[in-house]
């Protein structure tokens, strides 16, 4: 088994008017360990999906072992020895290791001779750098072992060029080190070549030979890992920081409104902890939480909305303990704008009018519901916030993404706002909706609201916020005023290397 080299030439991928990948040429030499770095949405996934035949590139070529290869679908990629290990497991939990390996083959006979297969598998295992018990059901394996099995599966299938899509995101740091060092050894032995998508600089330095950095669909740099420092990588990843001019600010910073102390909770995978201590958001300021997704931002949002229990710690609003109840939210004028509003802030099949009424339908404390008042309020807000809908009785799911977000803003930003907690407010919206929504957030701040915004879009954070925090591995690892913040060190901390 010998490694193969892969090269892309001018790979370009357009989705409609949007260019996800722009003239990208990278070369992975046989037996090398190549890292692909970039922010969320930089085009890393698009590039590997083009290489694996999931997408048909709009333009560009691919060379496998120096010869042109037309990869029309994933099967064609497999036939040439290209394989991919996904971020999430693709194993059958109830089957054993041996069974998972055998069923992954394309040429499984109708009747399987398990005795022969087992002998073959034992011989195969013996030649591998790491072993797994063949008869153990996959559900009893630890995450690191599952990831090893995914890799073994690729080798068993004869793949000699492996794409790893953030292979360590579901692993503990120790498991990650073990898996990656095995991969590196296989590369050094010349058995395989690896292209690894990652956000973590540490993994790049420790295991990769070469690195390519993508930004906004373009290859912006790269080279031998030995020649690049973390600062160089951060600078490449962040670009030359052509940041949007901050919007007009007015007013002064007031007393702290939101205070988080000693918060501890378990993250979504259940493997890591979220720890937030000493987070303060003052009246009249916007605090931004930057970071690569999956580093605890969505968990922080869930803690603040009462959807995730805390093991310890205290949340205070205006100096009083806060338990995320409706009455507290109403008395402190706390508003939430979760990401993907249709799925997190709306009942899709209820009408625009009803959805706008979610926050205020019971504010009189009454038992009777006044549909007439709700409709009148909805009519006014739909006009004020320019929500485009046929009538306020249309189900909200019939609206475009920008108009759903406008309807939710209308609901949450009307009336007095003292604390506004936002997550990725502009994700997936067009430019006009984006600038309008950012202007509304800025207005709320200028009128004295305390704003906490979690965003994967660093430009958004730099444009909107007064203070920036970086979250990495469930912790706040960096804090600075936005005016003094150094883009390189933000990138540095986002990459998990302090």
């Amino acid at each position: 088994m010998t490694a193969i080299g892969v090269e892309t030439l001018g790979m370009t991928m357009r989705f409609g008017a949007f260019t996800a990948l722009d003239n990208c040429s990278i070369k992975i030499a046989p037996g090398s360990f190549h890292a692909l770095l970039g922010e969320n949405g930089a085009g890393k996934s698009t590039l590997v999906k083009c290489m694996m035949g999931f997408y048909q590139a709009t333009a560009g070529q691919m060379l496998v072992d120096g010869r042109e290869a037309r990869i029309t679908d994933p099967k064609a990629a497999h036939a040439r020895g290209l394989g991919m290990v996904y971020q999430h497991f693709t194993l059958v939990p109830s089957l054993t290791v041996a069974e998972n390996l055998v069923i992954s083959r394309e040429d499984v006979p109708n009747v399987i001779d398990w005795r022969a297969e087992r002998l073959e598998l034992q011989a195969f295992m013996a030649g591998m750098p790491f072993q797994l018990p063949l008869d153990q059901p996959v559900r009893t394996l630890a995450a690191g072992e599952k990831q090893k099995l995914e890799i073994l599966k690729q080798l068993y299938l004869g793949r000699r060029f492996l794409i790893l899509d953030e292979p360590t995101s579901v692993l503990t740091p120790d498991e990650a080190d073990e898996v990656l060092s095995h991969m590196r050894r296989l590369c050094q032995e010349g058995a395989i070549s690896v292209l690894m998508i990652t956000h973590k600089f540490r993994e790049v330095t420790a295991y990769a030979d070469e690195v390519s950095v993508l930004r906004r669909g373009k290859l912006v740099g790269g080279g031998k890992v030995a020649d690049l420092s973390h600062d160089d990588m951060a600078a490449l990843m962040m670009g030359d920081a052509q940041l949007a001019r901050p919007a007009d600010r007015s007013g002064t910073r007031g007393a702290p409104v939101l205070e988080l102390d000693g918060i501890r909770a378990v993250d979504r995978t259940g493997l890591k902890d979220i720890e937030v201590d000493g987070l303060r958001v003052h009246a009249g300021e916007i605090v931004g939480v930057a970071g690569i997704s999956g580093n605890g931002q969505s968990e922080l949002m869930e803690i603040l909305t009462g959807q995730r229990p805390c093991q310890s710690g205290e949340i205070r609003v205006n100096g009083r303990a806060y338990t995320a109840s409706r009455t507290e939210a109403q008395s402190h004028n706390i508003r939430f704008l979760p990401e993907e509003p249709l799925f997190n802030a709306c009942a899709p099949r209820m009408s625009v009018s009803d959805n706008i009424g979610f926050r205020s339908f019971d504010t009189d404390g009454g038992f009777w519901l006044s549909r007439r008042k709700m409709r009148a309020r909805a009519e006014t807000l739909v006009r004020q916030f320019k929500v485009k809908t046929t009538t306020i009785d249309a189900p909200i799911s019939a609206l475009s993404g920008g108009n759903v977000q406008r309807a939710v803003l209308a609901r949450e930003l009307s009336g007095e706002v003292d604390l506004l907690i936002i997550s990725n407010p502009c994700f997936g919206l067009d430019f006009s909706a984006v600038s309008e929504i950012r202007a509304r957030i800025m207005t709320a701040r200028n009128e004295g609201a305390a704003v906490l915004i979690m965003s994967e879009d660093l430009d958004e954070i730099m444009e909107l916020t007064d203070r920036v925090l970086v979250m990495s591995e469930g912790r706040v690892t960096y804090e600075a005023t936005t005016a003094e913040a150094d883009i390189a060190s933000i990138g540095h901390h986002m990459g998990g290397h302090a």
Binding site: P338, N344, T390
Partner: protein, 369 residues
């Protein structure tokens, strides 16, 4: 927390006004009627295969269920428990729960009321009947409220849990009326001791139908008001429409789920009370006569709207009332009516996938040609 997609469909946009509103309203009426007709058509094929005439069948159903004053009385007294059983499905459905075990609450509510009646024998009806009624409702509320609690706190699927708990309830009833609570005088049919004549619930004055019908209709009206006209009902609709959004709004999703499930269970327990106090005169195996299951069909046909439950329950009660006559006249087994219900139910479940598919009913799509 995840909610099943069928359940999310039960919380729909309000129809609104004008032509667009009329179109949205028609969808909720015409699609169930269409499904009912499809069910009838499939059932007609079933009859034809056996060499029976569908027209004879439907004529007979009309005569036995709705043709005479006597058949109307028969139909309406069967309507009473069906109204309450259907509410036991429709109320949790507002929160996205598909509860199909109302039968359990009916059966245990009936046993509770029957045994309480035995203990209170000799007491004034003004004291005894309200106590029996409250005991029946309380037991029903605990039984179905437990289903809601299992769902909210432990993530147990409420559909399966309620169905299995209905089997437990029936077994428990059989154990009680054949064992500890059995009247030694009941020989062929083990029962609790018969209620005093004074503790029997009579008929609505001027009708030959017991008070259960009046309670059932009033319950439907009250539940409609609760769901459509109060802040609690609206909060439940939000939680049923999207539990995550409700949590972000700080609404007490767990309390709403358990509360609405318990309320539905209380009404099913009330049905059990009337079956004992107005129909059978004691608690026995006749309590498990399938009203809880027919109630599921009624609630789905009525799109979980308490007002629509009233006519649908009358229609289905008429079919059930005719089963005896169908058996005698057409030489068909009395389970034939269950076959009809089955066909209608399959048709109604399939019609759930059609909402929003017809352009005429969806004003949002009128403009785009």
């Amino acid at each position: 927390m995840t909610l099943s997609s069928t359940a999310e469909r039960t919380t729909t946009a309000r129809p609104g006004l004008g032509l667009a509103g009329l179109a949205r309203r028609s969808e909720a009426v015409l699609l169930p009627i269409g499904a009912l007709l499809v069910g009838f058509a499939l059932f007609s094929l079933f009859l034809l295969v056996q060499g029976k005439s569908p027209t004879d069948f439907f004529a007979l159903v009309y005569r036995a269920g709705f043709g005479t004053a006597f058949s109307w009385e028969n139909t309406l007294s069967r309507t009473a428990p069906l109204l309450l059983a259907a509410l036991c499905v429709a109320l949790p459905a507002r929160l996205g729960l598909v509860v199909i075990g109302g039968e359990g609450a009916i059966v245990l509510g009936g046993v509770g009321a029957g045994y309480a009646g035995v203990l209170l024998s000799g007491t004034s009806a003004f004291i005894a009947l309200p106590i029996m009624l409250l005991i029946a409702m309380g037991i029903g509320a605990l039984w179905i409220g437990a289903v809601g609690a299992l769902r909210h706190y432990r993530g147990v699927n409420e559909t399966i849990a309620s169905l299995l708990m209905a089997y437990i309830a029936i077994a428990l009833m059989n154990h009680l009326v054949e064992g500890p609570l059995r009247d030694p005088a009941s020989l062929n049919k083990p029962s609790t001791a018969p209620l005093d004549e004074a503790l029997r619930v009579g008929n609505v004055p001027g009708w030959d139908v017991h008070w259960g019908l009046a309670f059932g209709v009033i319950a439907c009206l009250l539940m409609w008001v609760l769901i459509e006209k109060t802040t609690w009902g609206f909060a439940a609709q939000i939680a049923g429409g999207n539990a995550r959004a409700a949590q972000v709004q700080g609404l007490p999703v767990g309390k709403l789920i358990i509360g609405f499930a318990a309320l539905g269970g209380a009404l099913a327990g009330l049905a059990g009370f009337f079956e004992v106090a107005a129909v059978h005169g004691s608690a026995n195996g006749s309590l498990a006569s399938g009203y809880g299951y027919t109630g599921i069909l009624i609630a789905f046909l009525a799109r979980h709207n308490p007002l629509a439950i009233i006519p649908v329950a009358v229609l289905l009660a008429g079919f059930e009332a005719s089963s005896g006559l169908v058996q005698r006249r057409m030489d068909l087994p009395d389970a034939t009516v269950l076959v009809l219900q089955g066909f209608v139910f399959v048709a109604i479940l399939m019609s759930e996938t059609l909402y929003g598919r017809f352009k005429i009913f969806t004003p949002e799509r009128w403009r785009s040609a």
